[in-house]
Symmetry: none
């Protein structure tokens, strides 16, 4: 905060950082399994292997921990999607590029079901203190998809009048819903089947360059 004192290189992962990480992991697991209200601070602390007071020392309260959690997890989702976008140099068609992004979304969600459930639960709760955070990062994630769609429109691979912003939101909702339904109702199905169906859908959904009304 004070530019004149250049801070003697504070150790980034000291004891504190390790404790925060432990608490994060405990909290994600428990809250996503039981919901925010049903998860007690005692449980979180016990699972993290620290004393209850430590939660308050590090986060200030249950609400703040939850907010930090949302931000942390949701940032990771956006990052994952961004990483899935093929590098500019690579010779991959926009169609395959989009499929790749959706695929990475499914993988992420199946690895972080908990988080995905929270994300959907909080997505439209506008009066919560962490709504802004969730919304902003959700927009970022959708932005990655929208970006791919824009590229496709540019190259004439889909109808030119497509509202790519709405379509991005649609694809996002589709992926999350399918992925969660899969994990919840038919976890035994191989992930490839999910990928394939989603690819088919996306392919069809936006694959009509000039379908007549």
């Amino acid at each position: 905060m004070n530019a004149s004192t250049p801070e003697p290189a504070k150790p980034v992962s000291g004891r504190r950082e390790a404790t925060r990480r432990k608490l994060f992991e405990a909290a994600v697991t428990l809250i996503s399994e039981q919901g925010y209200g049903a998860t007690t601070v005692d449980e979180i602390a016990e699972r993290a292997g620290v004393a209850k007071g430590t939660v308050y020392y590090n986060f200030g309260g249950k609400n703040e921990l939850y907010a930090a959690l949302m931000e942390w997890g949701v940032t990771r989702l956006a990052d994952t999607l961004r990483e899935a976008v093929p590098a500019a140099g690579q010779d991959v068609g926009p169609r395959e590029a989009l499929a790749e992004v959706l695929r990475s979304g499914v993988v992420f969600i199946s690895a972080h079901e908990a988080l995905a459930r929270l994300l959907m639960a909080e997505a439209w709760r506008t009066n919560q203190s962490w709504y802004a955070t969730v919304r902003q990062i959700r927009t970022e994630a959708i932005g990655v998809i929208t970006g791919q769609l824009d590229a496709m429109v540019e190259r004439g691979l889909t109808r030119p009048d497509l509202d790519t912003s709405l379509a991005g939101s649609a694809l996002f909702g589709m992926v999350v819903t399918v992925a969660l339904d899969w994990r919840t109702l038919q976890p035994e199905r191989p992930v490839e089947e999910i990928h394939t169906t989603l690819a088919h859908m996306a392919d069809g959904l936006i694959g009509s360059p000039a379908s007549p009304q």
Copy 2:
């Protein structure tokens, strides 16, 4: 349950029915905004303009009120979607039929935002007592869409290997997400624009009977 049939046994719409309705409305709004856990019985009663005890007199408890709520709303959603399916005799192509179902979904959601938010928030929280209810009726709603897809597969209007169950879930998630994003972020946009984009997307899907892998 219907006031036009004067049953002597139980006066269906006396003070009681009015009270229940007030409580329903208050509960849907509050819970969709804050979540189930964060909404107190006091708040619901206050918003409904009745005393707290009245909630217990009429529903037996917070959980029961919530369960009744879910069942009520979600049944109406399934009914609405079913009504949108063109009667067998009518000469409507499957393309238009599907579009009509999705359209009615959007209309329903924009009229019952709160309920839709709830539906998404609770859809995958498996260890709640009302999970079975939500799931069952959600399946019913998705079933209407799946039915249309099946009809299309039968008539060779889309790829024969489509997993219509997964696809139904995908379209459901797509519609709900788009509709809620619209209501939350850009409520000023005319509903037609939403319809059009969704129709385009569904159109694309239907239009690809045999897109090569």
Copy 3:
């Protein structure tokens, strides 16, 4: 709050009022004996013979209970002092009238030591939420004394240039201090000795109509 609905004569002392009174009494005793911080809500509830939740139902919190307490007690002090002022018709000299007010102050304090201690402890804690209340009513109490002094100045019974406001504050502090010291250090002394000394002091303190500098 709503003038158009003239409130159908709410019963002033129903169950609720009785509960509040019990809590008041329990709280005054305990807090004055142990201090605010050392007194727990559990103790107060137990002593009042009600459940802990009842404290919150009736007052909203420990702080609010304390604030209500201060207002209640301190209002009674002001009332007591006012009542001690001889009625206008009675043939009592201002000197005796003042002595009477001070005397009633001592009696009140010895009957409500607890409250008096709180009053002094909070008198100059300007950043507490209840400071305004304490201050206002303290001013009222001092006002009764100041009123007597003004009467004396008017009749030429004391020096005309006396700052009666400051002098009122001085006499108030004198009375409270002496009374509390008495109760704390020499409770065995008869109250009359205290009265007498205070009367002497007041007599002398302001009894010099024209003492040369």
Copy 4:
């Protein structure tokens, strides 16, 4: 520890003394504003600009810090009052001598408001561990006043039956109350006006050697 004074035994004013002083000042201010119970060790440390552990390193605990505080400040008050008593040889009337003591009291209080607030707030809270300290030194301070009154009684300058101990307590309470009211409510008034009013009042007392009952 202190490079400039290479004392082998105990460096009196090294870093440690400075730290203790900082903590003293922070503690007096905060406690006088909020009370002992409402002031946390965190706050004190933060205001003093040191880490929390430092409080414990230097004083052993919150209670000990407070006790040290009270003793330190209250000793200074007694000393100040004693110094105000004119030396035996000096030719000063008892009237002026008493006025001088009260005057020095007002000056001290206006310079150490926080301490004075504490002194009044804790004076009658008998079951605290530091009660003995506060009481003893308070008695010392009052003793200076009482001493003056005794001298006056001896010389026949006031009524012979005056309970000088009670009267001392009365004057003490009067001075502290007036001084704090002044600082809190009308700090803009010149100190001389306060002095004058107090002198007038004390004057009156002294000037009544034999006021008839």
